[in-house]
């Protein structure tokens, strides 16, 4: 290790492949986040519902998603379903696992955000003659959204970083691409350093953009 010589040229030559891997990373994170959000809304509603069936279904999903390692879920999607003859592509295995986990975590974020709005806000809006739809649209949801916004950003960053587990099922996202390139060139350290910097830049950009949007969108203060 003392006399390890860095050779960066190989890495720079392979940069287009790394970029393509980074694109796949962003791709799978964004899509798993979007679908995760939709499902999370349903799970949050289920968890707040009076129906035992909906509550239990939502609760099982949420508890499973929050208490199992992401890797297990990816393996179950890729190898586990494979045992039943259902063969998911590496991309779809990782995507499914991330959707499953994102939905579970976000459901609790949404539920917490919703329950943090005092019920008196609802009464006050109602007393002004608003119907329930208008109360939610203009009073409850805007306040709720700003409470869940930053936890949502964190979940998105988590998805970007966790998609690197795709390396273990042969997915061609940034980590998988890095793994493939270093194994044929033997420039392990160089490739992983560059990939690390790329992950860092991607997440930093996400956080920066999220902060700028928050500054523009959210006026006033939380009560």
């Amino acid at each position: 290790m003392d006399n390890y010589e860095f050779h960066w040229n190989v890495v720079f030559d392979a940069f287009p492949q790394l970029l393509s891997g980074a694109f796949t990373t962003i791709h799978v994170s964004v899509l798993s986040m979007l679908l995760g959000i939709v499902i999370a809304v349903l799970l949050a509603l289920g968890k707040m519902s009076d129906s035992k069936i909906f509550y239990n279904m939502a609760n099982i999903w949420i508890e499973t998603a929050r208490n199992l390692p992401a890797l297990f879920l990816i393996y179950m999607a890729y190898f586990g379903l494979g045992a039943y003859g259902i063969h998911l592509s590496p991309y779809f295995s990782v995507f499914s696992a991330l959707v499953f986990i994102n939905a579970g975590y976000l459901a609790e974020t949404f539920r917490g955000g919703f329950q943090s709005i005092p019920t008196t806000q609802y009464s006050a809006a109602k007393s002004l003659g608003m119907n329930s739809l208008k109360v939610y649209r203009h009073v409850i949801l805007p306040q709720m959204f700003r409470r869940i916004y930053h936890p949502m950003t964190n979940q998105f960053v988590w998805s970007i970083l966790m998609s690197s587990l795709g390396i273990l099922v042969g997915m061609n996202e940034l980590s998988g691409e890095t793994q493939r390139l270093q194994s044929t060139s033997f420039r392990t350290l160089e490739f992983f350093i560059v990939a690390a910097v790329m992950y860092f830049v991607i997440t930093k950009l996400v956080l920066l953009a999220s902060g700028l949007i928050a500054k523009k969108v959210f006026k006033g203060e939380l009560s």
Partner: protein
């Protein structure tokens, strides 16, 4: 006119209103006093149809509030309500707070709604706070905002539920001044209050609630100045 006839209301096994009869004529100010748990606030919530009643009738301008066919949202536009907790909408400026309902409920344009809101805010002395977010204001200012926000809907009646109870003592005065202003405007008001001297000053009628019933009712000089019922005397001797 608000007519309350034989209203009973229970929360589970607990009966909080045990047959309330009360009329409020247009332009009248009625104060409701009494110990906590005597049903004062519950009655306001029933007038506004935020709470259902078990039996009896509440009629507001010939409309039966608790009739299934009554459009409650439309009804509430005519019944402004201000709560103990002021419930400002923290994501909106003072002006937006007061302009929201006229715009989205009554269908005024943004400009029209803001003009209505501005007038009411100036009226309650918040003309210099229009672009401020409510969390930056004192409780007294936020409570005046809540009053202006309700007034912007041009209600015929205002219901006040212990609007000074959650305020620091030095902020009570400004809110009471606003209520005096409304009385001078001729607004019909029902005030649930613990401010006995204020009730004495502004009311046309005072109702003393005791355990879900009106124990004594009449002009403030009589009920507060020379109460006939023993329970009223006991209550007043404790709070005065």
């Amino acid at each position: 006119m608000i007519e309350i006839k034989g209203v009973h209301k229970s929360f589970g096994d607990l009966e909080v209103l045990k047959g309330i009869d009360l009329n409020v004529n247009s332009g009248e100010v009625v104060s409701i006093i009494g110990a906590s748990g005597s049903g004062k606030s519950t009655l306001l919530y029933c007038i506004n149809a935020i709470e259902k009643i078990n039996s009896g009738n509440i009629i507001v301008d010939d409309i039966d509030v608790h009739d299934k066919k009554t459009d409650k949202n439309k009804l509430r536009q005519n019944l402004g309500m201000v709560f103990q907790q002021w419930n400002s909408f923290p994501h909106l400026t003072v002006l937006e707070n007061a302009a929201l309902a006229p715009r989205i409920v009554k269908g005024f344009t943004k400009e029209e709604a803001e003009e209505i809101a501005r007038k009411e805010l100036v009226h309650v002395g918040l003309g210099d706070k229009l672009d401020v977010y409510p969390t930056r204001m004192s409780g007294g200012q936020q409570q005046r905002l809540a009053i202006a926000r309700a007034l912007a809907m041009k209600p015929a009646y205002m219901l006040f539920d212990e609007v000074t109870s959650a305020l620091d003592p030095e902020l009570v005065g400004e809110v009471l001044d606003t209520l005096r202003l409304l009385r001078d405007d001729g607004m019909t008001m029902i005030c649930v209050t613990h401010e006995i001297s204020f009730a004495k000053e502004v009311s046309d009628k005072v109702a003393f609630f005791h355990k879900g019933l009106i124990e004594e009712m009449g002009p403030p000089d009589e009920v507060l100045g020379n109460p006939q019922r023993e329970r009223t005397q006991q209550f007043l001797s404790k709070v005065l």
